[in-house]
């Protein structure tokens, strides 16, 4: 071994205040953030997911997030090619990717630089790096590696060169495909995990990939090897106490949760066109949807996709279309038709960086206003945003029900952060009540028009093809309750009123959202969608200092949740935190007159007339709690 692992004392600095010390080098830590970064194809993600699953299984809170290169097959040893995973895990539930990494395992120095570029490390981060490059036959590589190591040390990382490839090679001729398992073993040692569950998970995984016993055995060997090496060489190990679950848990990412939510809702048709970062939901469904009586249609484009879904829905089959920003843009016109003709449909928008093609694999919360106001004319519809992966699942069930009860499109806004993040949550108990009802084919009541709007709520039941006496011609033209084309002024006003009224009717069934923290104070931070975990973490951190900050998370954006004005009134200041663009008052030319606000802030200002401020950024990655914290603290300072 060329390098020495750090001392116990050094390692302790990494862990934060430990609670008990079962063996000399074992410290307890409440949470850790570990990253594995490698060239594309070296399996860092597989190892990381397995490690995350093991942690989750033991009862830790876990959030994993994949680091995906922009190119399909990027060059080896390049920043652009960095592929990997971050696993944040701890005693308490984990709701977001957190701040800087505590530990990074890097397969080469170049991929590590990509993490430095993304500001993922801090002075003190423990860096395990494969030492193979020091002995490279290529002088340039040796030199790059040497320089980088020096640089890393200067940046204050706690660098530990370790023999990842060398050790792996003892077991396999193709270390490229084994290093990840060796690292899994190493991490198991570092974090004091039993090997058995990891072994089980590996077996499961390779069996699913239809690999034979030999492959499984090799991988088990590698894990053991990494573990043994770790136990022998690590001078500091951590125990992250876990709380065994009292109920069954599942772990999945937001796209899988959305897809499974579709199945749980009894949705029968998913009509889509491939688009990142939404597609993986469809990939998942493509494999299993038919087992639950569903059909996945890959259309010729996004217009065709929603058209197909609307046709299916008109014919009585509940339908969903899943897409991202550019696809939403294309669906604009047919969303307008769905509202006009009151066709139930669920539309999932997995938001990505915009505008236009933007940052296709990265997170943004940029589609709120376009979901609300994107269609020409008055187009009231339901817009909801899950704030966790579990809610991705649940909201699909809600969305389907709302769509059918209110005879309306329901837009579900998730984002790339939820889509690719993974976290455990209580295993839902499947219920037949979630399923859409069977298609009604009984005779329609004669004389009841196709849009027998209830004058108070705007609600009406719809005839389904096949129902005798129900025949009507759905139209996107202005129409009366019989769906007859209507040009008279009063009819147009009335039909618009009915469509709008449905939103009021739904709003009346909603409860005001719950404040996180005290019910009043100096500052209320409002968020929506995937940022909840990070915002609440930041707020909790600041509250620990005794500051009077609370947060509020909005899930129903249209109709907007009730009672906001009243809640806002209890705080001296209100601000939103969002992953989208807003001008800053400190920017040149920007003042109260010219400032363009973040999207939720905009909505809340109009709705509540409260001077809702905002702090928003478009970094192409989730907002880490510490940045939110800084922003909130700045606002609080500004106050004084």
């Amino acid at each position: 071994m060329r390098t020495q692992a750090g001392t116990c004392a050094e390692a302790a600095a990494v862990s934060g205040p430990g609670r008990r010390e079962p063996d000399a080098c074992l410290r307890t830590a409440p949470a850790q953030i570990v990253e594995i970064v490698s060239d594309s194809g070296e399996g860092a993600q597989t190892a990381g997911q397995l490690f995350g699953t093991v942690c989750a299984k033991m009862g830790n809170g876990v959030w994993t997030v994949e680091i995906i290169p922009a190119e399909i097959e990027p060059p080896a040893r390049s920043r652009e090619g960095a592929s990997g995973i971050r696993i944040r895990f701890g005693t308490e539930p984990v709701t977001n990717m957190g701040n800087k990494a505590d530990v990074v395992v890097a397969f080469n120095e170049q991929v590590l630089y990509s993490r430095i570029d993304q500001d993922a490390l801090r002075p003190g981060t423990v860096l395990f790096i494969d030492d193979k490059w020091a002995a490279s036959s290529d002088a340039r590589t040796r030199e790059d590696y040497g320089k980088a190591l020096q640089d890393f040390r200067e940046r204050g990382y706690d660098v530990r060169e370790i023999p990842i490839e060398e050790q792996t090679r003892k077991h396999t001729e193709t270390p490229q495909r084994g290093k990840n398992m060796w690292v899994l073993g190493l991490l198991s040692a570092l974090y004091n995990r039993d090997l058995a569950p990891a072994m089980d998970e590996v077996r499961l995984l390779f069996e699913r990939r239809r690999k034979g016993e030999a492959v499984i055995e090799l991988n088990h060997q590698l894990i053991r090897s990494g573990y043994t090496w770790g136990m022998e060489h690590l001078d500091q190990r951590f125990d992250i106490p876990a709380r065994p679950h009292r109920e069954s848990m599942v772990v999945m990412n937001g796209n899988a949760a959305v897809a499974m939510g579709c199945i749980a809702a009894g949705i029968e048709v998913c009509s889509m066109y491939p688009i990142t970062p939404a597609t993986s939901a469809s990939h998942y469904m493509a494999g299993v949807f038919h087992t639950a009586g569903g059909f996945l249609h890959q259309a010729e484009d996004e217009i065709g996709a929603i058209g197909f879904a609307l046709g299916a829905s008109y014919a009585g089959k509940t339908a969903v279309t899943i897409t991202s920003g550019p696809g939403m843009a294309l669906k604009t016109e047919l969303i307008g038709l769905a509202v006009m003709a009151e066709i139930p449909i669920v539309i999932v928008d997995v938001q990505r960086g915009g505008p236009a093609t933007g940052l296709p694999t990265k997170v943004e919360q940029g589609d709120l206003l376009s979901s609300l106001f994107g269609q020409p004319g008055d187009v009231p519809k339901v817009v909801i945003a899950p704030s966790s992966i579990e809610e991705c699942f649940q909201f699909m069930i809600t969305a389907r029900k709302l769509a059918e009860t209110f005879r309306t499109p329901v837009i579900v806004l998730t984002d790339a952060n939820l889509a690719t993040g993974q976290t455990p949550f209580a295993k839902p108990k499947a219920s037949e009540e979630w399923l859409s009802p069977p298609v009604d084919q009984s005779p329609w009541k004669k004389g009841v028009p196709a849009y027998a709007w209830d004058s108070e709520t705007g609600l009406s039941a719809r005839p389904i093809p096949g129902q005798p006496d129900g025949a009507f011609v759905l139209t996107g033209l202005a129409h009366d309750e019989h769906s007859h084309v209507a040009y008279a002024s009063a009819k147009n006003q009335q039909a618009m009123r009915m469509r709008s009224r449905k939103m009021a009717a739904l709003q009346k069934t909603l409860k005001p959202p719950k404040v996180h923290g005290d019910e009043d104070g100096d500052l209320l931070v409002v968020g929506w969608g995937s940022t909840r975990g990070a915002i609440e973490e930041a707020v909790d951190e600041i509250r620990r200092d005794g500051q009077r900050v609370s947060s509020l998370h909005i899930r129903f954006l249209a109709p907007i949740e009730p009672g906001l004005r009243e809640i806002f009134g209890r705080f001296r200041r209100v601000m939103t935190v969002e992953i989208n663009y807003s001008d800053e008052l400190t920017d040149p030319l920007i003042d109260a007159d010219s400032r363009r606000y973040a999207q939720l802030a905009w909505l809340l200002r109009a709705h509540t007339l409260v001077d809702v401020d905002c702090w928003s950024r478009v970094p192409g990655q989730p907002l880490p709690p510490h940045l939110i914290e800084t922003a909130i603290r700045e606002r609080l300072e500004g106050e004084r």
Binding site: F295, G304, I306, F308, G311, V473, G476
Partner: protein, 317 residues
């Protein structure tokens, strides 16, 4: 079976549908518009085939032709310009019990709807596509359509359309899985009916182009065709559109054409000296996407829940 006494004892009374039972609201097309005749033919077809009105759906886009569903008494979906086909495919996908008809115009289908046209032909789902081709944008008042003849003066090309028109038949024949491609003229009602009947019976997407007169923005070519039927060429064949001798006699020129001969069909479509009327091509064994889309249709609620549980278990930790 029909025409039974009213005191017939069976529980479910046999239903016989008269022509009137397919009549929706009063057609608002211009007098003399070719769409009227097609509407009548379709109502006849429904009556002849005794299609249950509640099991029959007319889907359209936007345009004069696309008003069609309103004039039928059946379920209808009068959607957006160019988008009839995806909607029709979506309806068909999980409802094999429904009869699906699409009424579309040359602008609706061949211009704004062209991508869906290409793909719906390839999907080859069981439905009848009626392309009411008047070579012009009628509803928006006389603009050039992709099938407008070169030189035709319209509001957008007052000095004459620049380009040779697209040939919907030839284009459709070039698309994989095209399985039924026919042409007829609105002013020959029995031929329209015969063609639509064959189309309806064909298992797959039947593409029927109907040359349709728009007397409001008249197409000199159609007027001439009507005056001089010699340019029409009736395609005959045992496997083609079945027409009786009276109809046959309406056509001076006839040609035997085997609808399984794709190559011959394309040559026919290319002919400039004649307007073939009848069945260009049929292929009953082309892939049919609606055979796939019905997958899992019979899944019980219990099985759906079981599938969900199985999936959740896969993700259980």
């Amino acid at each position: 079976m029909y025409g039974l006494k009213t005191d017939w004892p069976a529980e479910i009374p046999p239903r016989y549908f008269t022509l009137q039972e397919y009549e929706g609201s009063l057609p608002r097309w211009c007098p003399g518009c070719g769409d009227h005749g097609v509407l009548t033919a379709v109502q006849r077809l429904c009556r002849d085939e005794q299609l249950e009105p509640e099991k029959t759906v007319f889907v359209s886009g936007i345009g004069c032709a696309s008003r069609f569903p309103h004039y039928m008494k059946a379920y209808g979906f009068h959607g957006l310009h160019g988008r009839a086909l995806p909607v029709a495919c979506g309806i068909r996908a999980r409802r094999p019990d429904l009869h699906v008809f699409v009424a579309t115009g040359d602008g609706d289908c061949c211009s704004i709807g062209a991508a869906h046209w290409v793909h719906a032909v390839r999907y080859n789902m069981n439905m009848v596509l009626m392309l009411l081709d008047n070579n012009v944008y009628g509803l928006t008042k006389n603009q050039t359509s992709p099938t407008s003849l070169k030189g035709r003066k319209t509001n957008t090309h007052p000095r004459g359309a620049w380009l040779e028109p697209i040939d919907p038949i030839q284009t459709t024949l070039g698309i994989q899985n095209a399985s039924f491609v026919a042409q007829t003229v609105d002013w020959n009602p029995p031929h329209v009916l015969a063609t639509l009947k064959a189309a309806h019976r064909h298992p797959g997407m039947s593409f029927v182009r109907i040359l349709q007169r728009c007397p409001h923005y008249p197409n000199q070519d159609f007027v001439e065709l009507q005056n001089n039927p010699a340019k029409l060429l009736l395609l005959t064949h045992a496997d083609g559109i079945e027409v009786d001798d009276a109809v046959k006699r309406m056509f001076k020129n006839r040609q035997e054409h085997d609808p399984s001969d794709l190559d011959g069909a394309r040559r026919l479509a290319d002919r400039e000296d004649a307007v073939p009327v009848g069945l260009f091509y049929r292929n009953d064994s082309a892939d049919r996407y609606d055979r796939n889309t019905v997958e899992g249709l019979a899944t019980s609620r219990r099985d759906k829940i079981a599938a969900l549980e199985a999936e959740l278990s896969r993700y259980e930790i």
